[in-house]
């Protein structure tokens, strides 16, 4: 199982602060390319914060500070010379609640392409279609591309948001509890999609739902109080956790 694993992203001694309070403590871990890595842990354990350090989304929250490194493509994305816009173009993100723009379905997906300088109408059309197909929502929206994205159901909106993230062809997709606001059927669709997408993308997913982590991920990292407690192959971590804390959490004794 461990052969030919190429590292896509590594965190090295990462510390994160909201003002004076520290949210992440010395996190070091690698994310393998074309695998799904799940970050689990109780609320407030820092897993979402950690996810958001990987594409520098925390930059837009005033008063936050990062120490340590996130290596992506052999570069530390927190180096002063790094263009954060380029980082986010190559590391896409899907959020906890579906957040489509109040635009048409087509323009929602085309937004990322347009700001990346693609204005050719044929190319826009092709890439929007390709992304909607990749996000398994094309058949549901192909006849209503000019309708408002807000007219879709929650589950459809979330797949639209995935299509929007795929449109700019990132290498990594970060997902912050992408199914927590959805019903079970919509959740199942998202999970199937995640498994399909890992052929082309490296996926890092934060989830509250341990069954979900077990179903979709190859590797699982357990966080507690801002620290990485245990990291391992998902099947091993869920069946034979090495640490007592991990076992207590995954068996539902706390969290």
């Amino acid at each position: 199982m461990m052969h030919n694993r190429k590292t896509a992203i590594s965190a090295k001694n990462l510390n994160f602060f909201y003002g004076k309070s520290q949210a992440l403590f010395d996190v070091t871990m690698d994310f393998a390319a074309h695998e799904v890595t799940a970050l689990i842990g109780p609320s407030g354990c820092g897993k979402s914060t950690f996810l958001r350090t990987i594409n520098r989304m925390n930059d837009i929250i005033p008063g936050t500070r990062v120490e340590g490194e996130i290596l992506f493509d052999n570069q530390n994305i927190y180096d002063p010379g790094i263009d954060v816009v380029q980082v986010r173009r190559r590391i896409g993100m899907v959020f906890q609640r579906p957040n489509p723009f109040p635009k048409s379905i087509f323009n929602d997906v085309a937004y990322g392409l347009r700001i990346n300088g693609i204005t050719n109408r044929v190319e826009l059309r092709d890439r929007v279609e390709k992304s909607l197909k990749a996000a398994a929502i094309w058949s549901e929206v192909k006849d209503r591309l000019n309708e408002s994205a807000l007219s879709l159901s929650g589950g459809q909106q979330q797949r639209l948001c995935i299509a929007r993230a795929l449109a700019i062809e990132p290498e990594v997709i970060l997902m912050d509890e992408p199914a927590s606001a959805l019903d079970p059927i919509a959740t199942q669709k998202i999970e199937e999609l995640i498994v399909e997408l890992k052929a082309d993308y490296t996926i890092i997913i934060v989830t509250h739902n341990m069954q979900q982590a077990a179903r979709v991920s190859d590797v699982t990292a357990f966080f507690y109080l801002g620290k990485l407690i245990e990291l391992g192959q998902t099947d091993a971590l869920f069946t034979r956790p090495r640490l007592k804390q991990t076992e207590d959490y995954i068996t539902g004794r706390f969290g």
Binding site: I60, V85, Q86, F95, F101, P102, Y111, I115, I168
Partner: protein
């Protein structure tokens, strides 16, 4: 505590709430009643003029000689004056108000915001007579000198002063509209590699557009109904202004300037009240549009 005592207590509490409720209800009725009375008297005092002149001649007549014999009651020059100064004021105030709202809500750092926001709000609290005074003693001579005019009290001066009064309205309501745009939309935009400028112009502004439109309309309504400033700095000529450097007399100025001199319940008096009806209808229209836009805004927000 025994059962009967508790029951009694509850009844008296319910009674007390009923009384409090009816007091609040009556008080809110008072303001509705007053609005109703204003409407009633305005129409009661204004409508009789139409026994002497047709609605068409009143609205579109270009001559206003209320004390001549026979008198002329055409308010077209005043309507044009109002529309002219309101449009020009909006032309000045909309960019100022909207851009300052964007700056305060999206760009300014915490400290800049702490200074700029209260200052803009302070502008709203300056009495209109002070702004009019400023227009008369500072702006008027400046315009006279700069453009070599015989008179500095004109459409441009009035528009600039009205713009000054509309900016705080437009800016603070626009800012509320921008703040109501969910942070998740901004995050979605940044996560796709958009920079701040792209996020503001392509996501935040379109999402806040209905609220911003409401702000603009309310600002225009304020400019339209403002009396003291136009009375002081518009120049007061009851003629259709040919350029921004000519004097004009918007509707409210006309009423304020002449009401004291119009004989009670004479034709002139009725004509001025009818002018008030026209003004009321115009501002009412602005408010209705603003209300419609803000309603639409809420619907897209919840969707």
């Amino acid at each position: 505590m025994d059962q009967s005592l508790r029951n009694k207590n509850r009844i008296s509490r319910r009674l007390r709430e009923k009384i409090i409720q009816s007091i609040f209800f009556t008080l809110s009725l008072v303001s509705i009643l007053i609005v109703g009375l204003i409407f009633f008297f305005l129409f009661n005092e204004g409508v009789p003029i139409f026994q002497h002149i047709s609605i068409r001649d009143f609205l579109f007549g270009t001559l206003w000689y209320p004390t001549a014999d026979p008198p002329d009651f055409g308010i077209w020059p005043m309507i044009i004056g109002s529309i002219f100064v309101t449009s020009l004021a909006s032309f000045i105030a909309i960019p100022l108000g909207v851009f300052s709202a964007v700056y305060v809500s999206e760009i300014a750092g915490h400290r800049a915001k702490e200074i700029i926001k209260p200052v803009i709000e302070l502008l709203a609290s300056i009495p209109s007579v002070v702004i009019g005074f400023f227009g008369m003693v500072v702006v008027s001579p400046f315009l006279q000198k700069t453009f070599d005019l015989p008179l500095g009290l004109n459409v441009l001066n009035a528009s600039m002063m009205l713009a000054l009064m509309a900016v705080p309205t437009i800016s603070s309501i626009s800012e509320d509209a921008l703040n109501a745009v969910p942070r998740s939309l901004r995050e979605a935009s940044y996560a796709l590699g958009a920079n701040r400028w792209e996020t503001i112009t392509r996501v935040v502004l379109p999402a806040g557009l209905s609220g911003i439109s409401t702000a603009i309309i309310l600002g225009m309504a304020r400019a339209m109904g403002e009396t003291m400033v136009v009375l002081m700095v518009a120049g007061g000529a009851a003629a259709i202004p040919g350029s921004i450097f000519e004097s004009c007399r918007p509707l409210p100025a006309s009423i304020a300037a002449e009401m004291a001199e119009a004989p009670y319940r004479g034709e002139h008096y009725h004509a001025l009240f009818a002018t008030g009806i026209v003004l009321l209808i115009l501002t009412f229209m602005f408010n209705a549009i603003a209300d419609h836009l803000s309603h639409k805004y809420r619907m897209t927000e919840s969707g």
